[in-house]
Symmetry: C2
Subunit: 323 residues, 2 copies
DNA sequence: CCTTTTTATCGAAACGTTTCGAAAGATTAC
DNA sequence: GTAATCTTTCGAAACGTTTCGATAAAAAGG
C-alpha cells in the first residue's frame, strides 16, 4: 500500500519538493498560479500528509488530550462538548485519553498539551510533565508553574448556599460524606460545611468516601446506625449521594421528610430520583470552553493563568422543609 | 528544551546509534551486558523515545481510536472500560476521538485502527478508510471488507422477549418510536416489533425519532393526541424512553398502569425513574472487550470476522400487568 | 596455528516532511 | 543596456528513529 507523498506530487507537477511543501502550506513564497496547480494535483493524487513526518520536523501534532478520571456518568459529555466547541477552527483536535498507559501520550509528545481532571496523575507526575515543557490545564487542583494554567470550580459559592439551606432546616446532626483525601475540590467543599455547621452549632459526623457511588453505599451502611430523624446527609458529590439514596430506599427513612440529603454536581440523574436530590450546579460546557481556551493561550502565547467557574445551589425536595 | 535522543545515549555509552536502538528494543543482536549498560544510561539521561520518528519508520503508532457518536449518558463508560481491559498488556493504547475533525486521526494514520459506533461516518467514508488499509471494527453496522470486522448486538434476542411481554398485556395500540433512518440496530429492532405486533393483531403507530431524548420528547407531544389508556409505547432506545417519561409526568397518564412503556439499552437511569423502565440489557463491557479483541486480530493476523453480543429483556413496572 | 563459522557492533540509508540559504529569473531604476 | 532589487524556485540538510548489509571480533573446527 504505497501512499502518495509530497515527492510524487513534485514529480507530477515538474517542480521540486520544497515548492510543493510551500504551496500546500499556503506560503506566499510560491506564486498563486503554481500553488493552485499543485493543490489540484495533490487532490487528484489523493494526497494525505504524513503526520509523523510533519511532527518530526515541526514538533507539533496539533492534538490536545483530555485526561479525565474515568467516564462515569453524564458528567464528561458536556465538558468535552465545551472543549470541542472552543477548539473548532483552531486547527487543534481533541482526543480523550483514559487508558492505563495514557501518560505515554503525554511524554512521547503525541499531544501538544493536556487538560487534566481527576486524580489519575500525582502532583509529581504533573510537575514532571510541565518541567519537560508540556502545556497543561488543570481542572481540579492548583499548581503554580509557567507551563500550567488552572480552571477551577468556585466550590465555595454553591456550597455556601447549600449549607445555608441545610442549616435553615435545623438538623440535629449533619453526616458528611467526604471525598478522596487530598482532592482540592473535596477540601474546599468540606471546609465550608465545617465552618457553617460550627457557626450554626450543629455537630458534624464525618464518613470516608472517594466520590464513587460505591463509597456512598458503604458509608451509608456504616452511618445508618447513627442516623436519626431530623438529621441531614451532605455528600461532597452526587455519585455518593446516589449511593445514599439507593441504600435509604430500603429503610424506613424518607428522604426530604425524615432526613435531608444534598449532593454536589447536579448530575442529570438527580432529577429522576424521588425526591429529586438538591445539589450544586455549574456549567460544564463553560468549564470545558474555558479549559480549552486557557490551554490554547498557554500553547500559543505562553501565558498562564487561573480562572474560576461559578457554581450555584439548586434546591430540591430532598432537603426537608425548614421548621 | 533539548530532548535527549538515541544519539546522546550512543555518545555517552561509546557505541553506535544502531547498537543503542537494538539494545533498547530488546533485540538479541546485542549482548546482554551492553544491553543492560545502555538501558541504564538511557534511564539516567531520562530518555523518552520520539514517537514521531519511530512512527515514521515503522508506520505504527500503537494507538487505536474509538470513534463514538457522542458522549451522552453512562453508555460509553462501560464500553470503553471493556476495550481498555482487553487492550492491557498488548502495547496498544486507546484514545477516544469525538472531535469534529476526528477523521483526520484516521486518515493521517495517527491511529493504527478504529472502533466505530454511531452514524458519524458514512458508509462511503468507512469504505474509503478500509480501502486505504485501515483496520476497522464496526459496532453497529455490517460491511464486508477484508479490513473490517463487526461486533454487533443481537437485537432480536432481547426485542423478542420485550415484545412478548408487551403483547401479553394486550395493548389496544402500540406506539413505536423509531431510531435514525438507516441505523442497523433500529432496523433490526423495528422489524421484531412489527412482525410480533402483526402476529398478535395489534396495530402499530410509528413516530419519528433519532435515539435522542429530545426526539423522544418531540414524538411524545405529537402522539399524545392519539394516546389512550391501554396503549403501549415502545421506544427503540432508552434515551427516547426517558423523553417519553418526562413528558408523561406532566399528564394524567400513569406509566405502568394506564400505558406501558419500554425501551432498549437498560441505561442505569432507568432504575431511578418511577416506575422503573423496562428495557433490553446487554453487557457493554463484553462488547468493548470483543471489539478490541476483534480489532487486534485484524491488525496482528489480518483475520476479520463477525460476532454478536447477546441481549436480554429486563422486566420492570413500566409495563402494565397482563390482563 | 590457520581457516571457517558465528556473534557483536557499526555505518549508512531510509521514512516524509519543513525550511534555510543559494540560485535563477523577472522586474525596476538609472 | 547594465546594475540593482525583488520574486520565484530549487537543492540539501535536518528531524530521531529503524534496519540492512558490511565489518570486525570472537569462537569453533581441523
Amino acid at each position: 500500500m504505497k501512499m502518495t507523498g509530497i515527492k510524487d506530487i513534485a514529480k507530477a507537477a515538474g517542480v521540486s519538493i520544497s515548492t510543493v511543501s510551500y504551496a500546500l502550506n499556503g506560503s506566499t513564497k510560491v506564486t498563486e498560479k503554481t500553488r493552485q496547480r499543485i493543490v489540484q494535483i495533490a487532490n487528484e493524487l489523493n494526497y494525505i500528509p504524513n503526520a509523523a513526518a510533519r511532527t518530526l520536523k515541526t514538533r507539533k501534532t496539533h492534538i490536545i488530550g483530555a485526561f479525565l478520571g474515568d467516564y462515569s456518568g453524564s458528567f464528561y459529555g458536556e465538558l468535552l462538548k465545551g472543549i470541542n466547541l472552543e477548539l473548532s477552527n483552531t486547527g487543534y483536535e481533541l482526543i480523550v485519553c483514559n487508558g492505563p498507559e495514557s501518560h505515554r501520550l503525554m511524554t512521547e509528545r503525541i499531544v501538544d498539551g493536556g487538560i487534566i481532571l481527576g486524580h489519575r496523575f500525582t502532583e509529581e507526575q504533573i510537575m514532571s510533565f510541565a518541567d519537560r515543557g508540556h502545556p497543561l490545564t488543570l481542572l481540579d487542583r492548583e499548581i503554580i508553574h509557567p507551563n500550567i494554567s488552572c480552571v477551577l470550580l468556585n466550590n465555595a459559592m454553591g456550597m455556601e448556599q447549600e449549607m445555608e439551606a441545610i442549616v435553615a432546616t435545623r438538623p440535629n446532626h449533619i453526616h458528611l460524606l467526604n471525598g478522596p483525601v487530598g482532592n482540592h475540590d473535596a477540601i474546599e467543599r468540606r471546609e465550608i460545611v465545617m465552618t457553617r455547621a460550627l457557626q450554626a452549632g450543629i455537630t458534624v459526623m464525618e464518613w470516608d468516601g472517594n466520590f464513587t457511588k460505591r463509597s456512598g453505599i458503604r458509608a451509608t451502611s456504616d452511618l445508618l446506625e447513627d442516623l436519626k430523624d431530623g438529621d441531614a446527609i451532605v455528600c461532597l458529590n452526587d455519585d455518593m449521594a446516589l449511593g445514599v439514596y439507593d441504600v435509604l430506599q430500603n429503610t424506613s427513612f424518607r428522604i426530604g421528610q425524615d432526613v435531608s440529603l444534598a449532593g454536589f454536581d447536579k448530575l442529570e440523574i438527580t432529577n429522576y430520583t424521588h425526591p429529586k436530590i438538591a445539589s450544586v450546579s455549574y456549567s460544564k460546557l463553560e468549564w470545558g470552553q474555558k479549559a480549552a481556551h486557557s490551554l490554547m493561550r498557554l500553547i500559543d502565547a505562553k501565558e498562564n493563568g487561573i480562572e474560576k467557574i461559578d457554581s450555584k445551589f439548586i434546591v430540591a425536595e430532598s432537603v426537608c422543609q425548614r421548621k
